[in-house]
């Protein structure tokens, strides 16, 4: 019943509906910004025009040096992250696949382990 009503009012447009959806999305995004720009009162202040960070008043200059070394930890984290993603499905099918799966995961983990050893040899694990 419901579908029949919808069918009578909305013609089947095939893939054109995709393009319509794209335009709707665009209009929605642009429209929201435009309407708020038109409707809202414009009273800039020193505090107001500061970029929003976390709600607390900002202190000091934003051009400070911070340690870029964190990317190393992100990279090493990624190694183990990917490892876990592969270990879960492996654990599910281990009983069915038997020794083959076991050998394969040993190879896989040892390759990742080599990566960790490489990072360690390079001194990437040292806190700088």
């Amino acid at each position: 019943m419901m579908t029949k009503i919808i069918r009578t009012f909305v013609p089947d447009m095939g893939y054109a509906s995709l393009i319509l959806l794209m335009f709707c999305g665009l209009i929605f995004a642009v429209g929201a910004i435009l309407v708020s720009r038109l409707v809202s009162p414009y009273k800039p202040g020193k505090v107001k025009s500061e970029p929003y960070e976390c709600g607390i008043e900002t202190e000091g200059p934003s051009w400070v040096q911070f340690n870029v070394g964190y990317y190393l930890f992100a990279l090493i984290f990624l190694v183990f992250d990917v490892e876990v993603v592969f270990l879960f499905p492996w654990a599910v099918v281990l009983r069915e696949m038997g020794i083959t799966a076991f050998i394969e995961i040993i190879i896989f983990v040892s390759i990742l382990f080599l990566g960790l050893v490489y990072a360690w040899r390079k001194g990437a694990l040292k806190w700088v």
Partner: protein, 470 residues
């Protein structure tokens, strides 16, 4: 069952073992040993070329993920040979690098990615291979840490490839949405060429055009080629481009086989624009690497034209042309690499009067440029001949005539360099250069390739039979 996997994946397994061996070596060793490493890599690469000619069963592995047959193995052998020559020509520069082993590992990883890419029977596998081939290349392009231009090249390469990958994925998503599969086989039977699929196909073709630097998408080429180390420039211009062309063929003939009325006009347009624009830009270059960059753009145009022919002829002529192109382009790049290493310059002025000081080097460069231009004794002529006759065989005479006229135009700038070397007076004084042993090997292989391949018709017949067998 298991033997089938080992035999199908033998080249990939060899490369993986080599990369892991280098990694273990890096972790264990205190001092790096460039000569020993190079020997190890050469042995592995040459034996991989050997085993690629072994008896092979064609078929699929891992569902439809991995496809293998004799043509694919031959294509892999071409890429392996290209990588071997790149190692030879760039070794003098590589061995001075602090991170020599990492350089080798990254370069071999990109090769592994390309092997998976040309073996893919599935868009997912193809995309994984493409990313494995692309991301390390950006690191390699920015390998020269002292050169600002090198970092610029890496940055431009990674940004433009990320953009191309995004468009490619967008296209794949449309194909997946309309056919319900990412495997080439299922797509081939489910595709009907409606407008959404056409849009998806154009996006995928755009991704490919970025990779082989066809013209509206070639803007990264000259800057990246100029900034990257010479070894990487030559690798990008030959091996990386070859892999993209090799994988484009099964995608077009196999997955999009029913849409030939869509892809053939697109390819002809793309190739004509590429040839003309590449020629026009090559005329005005002052830097040798930029000049060769636009020369590669033009060659990509001829390759795209060859693809439009009937499937078997097109496949054979493209593989044959790539085989010759590897030797001609790498021959030219070896000379460029030697001169840039010794003089620190790569502008065209260095080559003025080169014949008076370095007759051997200028003869090799002459041969390589003749082959690139397609002048008869060199093998490049036969490569171009088969490409054009493949397109002519399918009846695209206008495109073939435009391409032939452009071959004449390209003679001007190739012969201009030759004239500079043989006729002009030297601008700077270069003493007689003595190429290192590795560079001599590279020069020798390239010369042999250029001189010999054209005169052995059996090679073309062999490739033709391989393509016909599929």
């Amino acid at each position: 069952m298991t033997e089938q996997y080992f035999s199908g994946l033998r080249i990939e397994l060899f490369l993986t073992m080599l990369i892991l061996a280098l990694l273990v070596g890096k972790v264990l060793a205190i001092k790096q040993n460039p000569i020993g490493t190079l020997t190890l890599i050469s042995v592995f690469l040459i034996s991989s070329i050997g085993i690629s000619f072994m008896q092979n069963e064609s078929g699929y592995l891992f569902g439809t993920m991995f496809r293998t047959n004799s043509t694919i193995l031959f294509e892999k052998a071409i890429l392996l040979a290209g990588t071997f020559i790149v190692f030879m020509l760039g070794f003098e520069w590589m061995k001075k690098q602090k991170h020599f082993l990492e350089f080798c590992m990254l370069l071999l990883s990109t090769l592994l990615g390309m092997c998976f890419m040309i073996s893919s029977g599935n868009f997912l596998m193809f995309f994984l291979g493409l990313e494995l081939a692309t991301i390390p290349l950006a690191a390699l392009a920015s390998f020269d840490l002292d050169e600002k231009k090198s970092s610029e090249a890496g940055m431009k390469l990674i940004l433009s490839s990320a953009f191309a990958s995004a468009i490619l994925l967008f296209g794949i998503s449309f194909i997946y949405g309309t056919t319900g599969s990412v495997s080439f086989d299922t797509i081939a039977s489910a595709i009907d060429g409606n407008n959404v699929q056409k849009f998806g196909f154009i996006c995928i073709l755009t991704g490919f055009a970025f990779k082989i630097s066809a013209v509206p998408f070639h803007f990264w080429t000259a800057d990246v080629y100029e900034g990257a180390p010479v070894a990487i420039t030559s690798y990008l211009s030959v091996v990386s481009k070859g892999a993209a062309i090799f994988v484009l063929m099964p995608v077009l003939y196999h997955a999009f086989g029913r849409m030939s009325s869509t892809y053939i006009p697109a390819l002809i347009l793309l190739s004509t624009v590429t040839i003309i624009t590449g020629n026009l830009f090559a005329l005005r270059q002052k830097s040798m690497k930029r000049f060769l960059a636009f020369s590669t753009v033009t060659q990509a145009g001829y390759l795209l034209l060859g693809i439009t022919g009937n499937n078997t002829e097109a496949g054979a002529s493209v593989v044959y042309f790539m085989l010759i192109y590897i030797f001609s382009n790498l021959g030219a790049f070896t000379v460029v690499s030697i001169l840039q290493n010794r003089t620190g310059r790569d502008d065209i002025g260095v080559y003025k009067g080169l014949y008076k000081t370095n007759p051997t080097l200028s003869m090799v460069l002459l041969l390589a440029l003749f082959s690139l231009a397609g002048i008869p004794p060199a093998a490049g002529f036969f490569g171009k001949l088969f490409l054009l006759s493949s397109a002519a065989g399918a009846g695209y005479y206008v495109a073939v005539i435009i391409a032939s006229v452009n071959m004449v135009v390209s003679l001007y700038y190739y012969l201009n360099i030759v004239k500079m070397m043989f006729v002009d007076e030297p601008e700077i004084t270069i003493e007689k250069l003595k190429p290192a042993v590795t560079e001599q090997i590279s020069l020798f292989i390239c010369c042999c390739g250029i001189l010999v391949i054209g005169f052995i018709p059996a090679i073309y017949e062999y490739i033709y039979n391989l393509s016909a067998a599929i």
